[in-house]
Symmetry: C3
Subunit: 176 residues, 3 copies
């Protein structure tokens, strides 16, 4: 399915963007350039009706060529255990980080393990994450810790990635 | 007034940017490449002194070649009723969306109507909007709904637009 | 130390980015292209343990070739008094603006003086600042004032700068 106009899917791609920026949809399109089946690793947990609706909307967009695996916490394991050569989409890192913090895991250790896994993955692996650091400093200390951890994680993954995109209004800007 | 160095104003341009990013001023400069008069469709409503000062500042920047029309809610009508061929600037979509939500209108229907109007407009039409999705998830449910609606609207309009700009510190980055 | 692959450090560079975007580290790398010693003008004031840790982390990254000067408020003076020809890094403008507002100084006058100083500086001068305007409108009026002042300051400095970068996940996007 790769057309001559599309660069081949690299080993590791990081897709950043704001809320409702179309980053998930863009990432799905990237993965779908490779032959199916595609593995979708979902990190979302439905704590309330709002999240349930959002998960259902994302799920409804994906057809039978997608295999979905839930990994709200054991994300590095899920990536490592994916079939060799099969394209993998992780959606999204900020929800995973939220789960790690809510479960009171060691955030630095979990992030380091995830970065190591991404560095070693054979790919193609596409990671989707929310950019959350471009607003006013949050008054809430937990939100500040989250923002700092997300920012560090993005820097480390961007350094390891062959391609980094920043999605604005559904359109990708190439950062790397 | 179009110089040989400036690309001609396309049918539909979406200018996104943060608060005080200079997006309005940049959009005014784009429209002013075409011969006057220019139609300025203002969506702002002055609820307090802060908004009044901001509206006055924007208004003071525009000279007599601008015709101003207020459209806090009936934005699609104002675009459709603009004189054919006359350059139109809408400033801004996020204020309009705020007005729609405060008036308890059907947000999805209003946004769909606006997108349809923008798709059909003969142009040149320049739409200015605030990117609001790049901070921490707001604690306020209404703010989350607003952020989601704005993000969807931006995606739909960006898809219809010939040119999409992301303004940072007064300078345009070309997204499309 | 300037390699043939790196553009020479211009007179004035503005490095914008979100929280934990890697903007400080990127700016340090830019300055380190020029021969040492380098002047680091720090605007941070440690009001609490969180800020102390962040300052210590930044300081630990810089070796003996950096000379550090603290200028939480008298930033324009510190820039003007820097040795001619010595590369200067200011980190960061948003913390300085916070200090100016907390000290109840005249924000517009202080910003105008800083912009004038940056315009006249012989350089190379690299200014780091947080982009804070891309989230939801803050409910807090002081935060809105801060956001407006930062946005205006960024526009004025970007207009005076030879190079403007927007750092995402540690990677620079060239705005100008």
């Amino acid at each position: 399915m790769t057309s001559s106009h599309t660069p081949p899917l690299p080993r590791l791609t990081l897709v950043l963007g704001g809320a409702r920026s179309g980053k998930s949809r863009h990432a799905e399109g990237l993965v779908a350039q490779a032959p199916p089946p595609w593995l979708y690793i979902a990190t979302a947990q439905a704590f309330d009706a709002e999240m349930e609706a959002r998960i259902a909307e994302h799920r409804g967009r994906r057809d039978a060529r997608w295999v979905t695996r839930d990994a709200p916490l054991a994300l590095a394991d899920a990536i490592r255990e994916s079939p060799p050569g099969q394209p993998v989409l992780v959606d999204c890192l900020t929800l995973w980080l939220t789960n790690v913090m809510l479960a009171e895991r060691d955030v630095a250790a979990e992030c380091a393990a995830l970065v190591a896994t991404a560095r070693e993955a054979s790919g193609p692996l596409v990671l989707v994450s929310n950019e959350v650091g471009l607003g006013i400093v949050p008054e809430n200390a937990l939100a500040r810790r989250f923002r700092d951890a997300a920012g560090r994680l993005h820097q480390d993954l961007a350094s390891a990635a062959e391609r980094v995109l920043f999605v604005v209004a559904g359109l990708p800007m190439t950062v790397k």
